[in-house]
């Protein structure tokens, strides 16, 4: 930051009142945009994981009271052997108890407590996505053996969730875009105000031969410093949020290195946006001013 500090110390433009508030406002907007993109990314990855886990699976849940009898277990195995002959069934597996416990632990986050619970027996049926699966027939065959058994066809609840997830993704992207638009508007407004406030100094600079690009560069330096501060604020806030969220829900929503990339990438993009918008605003303002100097 030294190069910014040294180049600003003899800047012809004095600090304006907005220079104290702007880093916080823009920082908050960058933070919101980062959260929106992180949210979009999180939803996408969760959906992808769920899709991998659930899209070709049907689960049979046998209540805890019925699973203890060894003869019933034998009946179940026989039933699965029969079903495995069907072309639509790719694989059938009685899930080990520790896997069932893992599934519950993901939601309760207390492994010790989960071990004390009486959990149902789960049978995972991997079915072909290319063939029609006779769910009613499977259900009937299973309930003949285990009247209380429930057949979970994940597609039934998964499809609406997918729709909600798509909407959430769209909303996140729209929120990120809206944030960028607000940042652009804020920078245009702030730069325009700076130009009005510093019109006298701009006239002096033009009088001594400063080109429009020189004037733009002076204001860009100020905005660059502001954008660096805003990005720092946004990165710190995003890291704190991500750590907190990760601690709370890492078992449900997986986090990867991409999240850290997003936290750095969004502020860098915003800095570029701020600099471009500042430059264009100054150049447009000076273009409209033509050669006029009023001193």
């Amino acid at each position: 930051m030294y190069f910014l500090k040294s180049s600003l110390s003899d800047s012809p433009f004095a600090k304006s009142s907005s220079s104290h508030v702007l880093p916080w406002v823009v920082g908050a907007l960058i933070y919101l945009a980062t959260l929106a993109v992180l949210g979009c990314q999180g939803v996408y990855r969760t959906m992808e994981t769920w899709h991998m886990l659930l899209s070709e699976h049907v689960t049979v849940e046998i209540p805890a009271a019925q699973k203890t009898k060894d003869e019933d277990l034998d009946k179940l195995k026989t039933l699965l052997l029969t079903l495995e002959k069907e072309s639509w069934l790719l694989e059938a597996e009685i899930m080990p108890e520790n896997r069932v416990q893992d599934l519950v632990t993901a939601w309760i986050s207390d492994a010790a407590l989960v071990k004390t619970l009486v959990l149902p027996m789960l049978v995972d049926l991997r079915v072909s996505s290319e063939q029609r699966v006779p769910l009613e027939s499977i259900h009937k065959k299973i309930t003949d053996v285990f009247p209380e058994a429930v057949l979970h066809n994940h597609a039934e609840w998964y499809s609406p969730v997918l729709r909600y997830a798509s909407f959430a993704q769209f909303f996140s992207v729209a929120l990120a875009l809206l944030t960028v638009i607000i940042v652009i508007g804020t920078i245009v407004f702030s730069t325009h105000s700076d130009l009005i406030v510093h019109q006298h100094i701009i006239n002096i600079l033009q009088l001594i031969g400063a080109t429009d690009t020189y004037v733009a560069a002076q204001l860009e330096k100020r905005m660059l410093r502001m954008a660096f501060l805003a990005s720092f604020v946004a990165i710190v806030a995003s890291v704190v949020t991500l750590f907190t969220f990760r601690k709370m829900s890492s078992a449900i929503i997986p986090f990867e290195h991409q999240e850290w990339g997003i936290i750095i990438f969004i502020p860098i993009c915003m800095i570029a946006v701020v600099i471009c918008v500042t430059r264009l605003t100054v150049l447009w303002f000076l273009y409209r001013k033509d050669i006029n100097i009023t001193l």
Binding site: D10, P12, L205, L207, I208, G209, A210, D212, I293
Partner: protein, 232 residues
């Protein structure tokens, strides 16, 4: 026709502001290198507007104005910026940048030309010494007297070695003793080769120096001319 080396060529130039006020009417004149001109006239006669045209701060409403051979009507904003580097301007109210030190104010024209910091400093210190302000390099303009501020403004105006120096009532805010010193400074610059145009109300100084006078009255150059602008 424009002569070789002509600094300003003005032919039937008129200027009317947006409000409809006509401030300059049919002005024709020529300035050559190494010349000195007094610009006189009562308040509101159009002196400042004429100087504003000369420092390319405005386009004339009618007529032809060429500065350093470039027609101001056809001139782009960038061309105007680059040509202004050959023009130095001094104002009655100094127009210094208040939060910059004396040295930084004087160095500014070289900074906008992207000259190296060491060269800027050297030239600015040299000029501040020439105008007698070597002990005030780090002071802010606010802490200087009117005469000192005007000398800073002159140093800033000449640091880029301008071919044309324009001064609008430069002695308006200083006492007579300082005014005399400043007039001699301008005379010295003229002798070093700069074309100087000095707008003033001070009859005393106009009569003291043997240079031509352009008298403006109601936006027109009138025959009340002490001496026609002479070619060097």
């Amino acid at each position: 026709m424009i002569d070789q080396g002509e600094i300003v060529f003005m032919e039937r130039v008129s200027l009317r502001y947006r409000e409809g006020v006509s401030v300059l009417k049919n002005i024709s004149l020529r300035f050559f290198p190494r010349s000195f001109h007094f610009l006189t006239g009562s308040s509101g006669a159009g002196k400042s507007s004429l100087l504003r045209l000369l420092y390319l701060g405005l386009r004339p409403t009618a007529g032809t104005l060429k500065v350093f051979g470039t027609d101001i009507q056809q001139m782009s904003v960038k061309q105007a910026s680059l040509l202004r580097r050959r023009v130095g301007v001094v104002f009655q109210d100094f127009n210094l940048i208040e939060h910059l030190s004396v040295l930084e104010n004087v160095m500014l024209p070289l900074k906008v030309r992207n000259e190296p910091p060491s060269a800027r400093q050297e030239q600015a210190r040299e000029l501040l010494s020439w105008v007698g302000l070597e002990d005030h390099v780090d002071a802010l303009p606010l802490h200087l007297s009117g005469g000192e501020r005007q000398r800073v403004a002159i140093a800033r105006a000449v640091i880029g070695r301008p071919d044309l120096l324009l001064a609008d009532e430069p002695t308006g805010n200083v006492d007579d003793k300082m005014a005399q010193k400043l007039f001699h400074l301008f005379d010295g610059l003229h002798k070093m080769g700069t074309c100087v145009v000095l707008a003033t109300h001070s009859r005393h100084f106009v009569d003291m120096f043997p240079y031509p006078e352009l008298y403006l009255e109601d936006g027109r150059l009138t025959p009340h001319i002490k001496q026609q602008p002479e070619r060097p």
